[in-house]
């Protein structure tokens, strides 16, 4: 248990800013343990940047760093992302 942990839902605004669609209902498959679940249910940590972790295995699903004009996104921890369009 970790008091600082939030849900992916807490960065819904940032994700929508980047992807231009609502992302918390997108289903991600963890490249570590293959569990699938909504991004909104991922564990969220705020470090120097944003880290989303798999709620089952702790694997880093995504890292997000944002400056005023650029966003860097590492999604290598998500094997597949399923988005409703």
């Amino acid at each position: 248990m970790n008091e600082l942990r939030l849900d992916g839902n807490a960065v819904a605004g940032l994700l929508q800013e980047v992807f231009a669609v609502e992302m918390t209902t997108a289903i991600g498959t963890c490249s570590g343990c293959s569990t699938a679940g909504p991004v909104g249910a991922a564990h969220l940590y705020r470090g120097a940047g944003i880290v989303l972790r798999c709620p089952h295995c702790g694997n880093t699903l995504a890292k997000i760093v944002k400056s005023d004009s650029r966003v860097w996104i590492d999604l290598t921890g998500i094997r597949t992302l399923e988005v409703t369009v």
Binding site: N2, L4, A48, G49, R53, T60, V65, S67, R70, I73
Partner: protein, 201 residues
Amino acid sequence: MTVVSRGFRGRRAADVNPARVPPGQYVTRDFPVLSAGPTPHTALQLWDFSIIGELDQPRGWTWEQFRALPSEEITRDIHCVTKWSKLDTVWRGVAVDTLLEGIETSAEYVTAYSDGGYTTNLPLEDVTGGKAWVVFAYEGQPLAPEHGGPARMLVPHHYFWKSAKWVRGLRLQSTDEPGFWETNGYHNYGDPWQEQRYSGD
């Protein structure tokens, strides 16, 4: 284009000597807790610190051995890339120079690695010559787990993401290996005085 919120000040410290504040930073009296993952809780009986990589003989210390090394009190300002700075923070720790004493290496870089998988990279010359420590106490108390305890890096002349929490060792390398944040947008070197926050800055 943002609009000023009437009367909003935040909780920044006033009366700060501007010469101590790198560009774009704001001084806080708090000590914000930021983390890339859950707080590890490695038992001290299981904890060790290692120097590995390009050296003849890897070195390691148990917690007792580490705490028996000469340590010193260090007072420094720290600067987080998320824009808060904290002045005159007081730590106690072992100089990296002490940990590397007598080591012969052709390595030019180090990677600090931590429990939980976090890594950060630095030139070897930026952790030697009195510029870096492995610290185990803050303000006279054992370093709290949320702040990186039992031990973390302290490399105050870089943005604080380089002062890896829950550090377990340094890997000496001849090649530079960008770490957890350096591979995803944060600056490879990270000098606060040159405002090197992001790649390409």
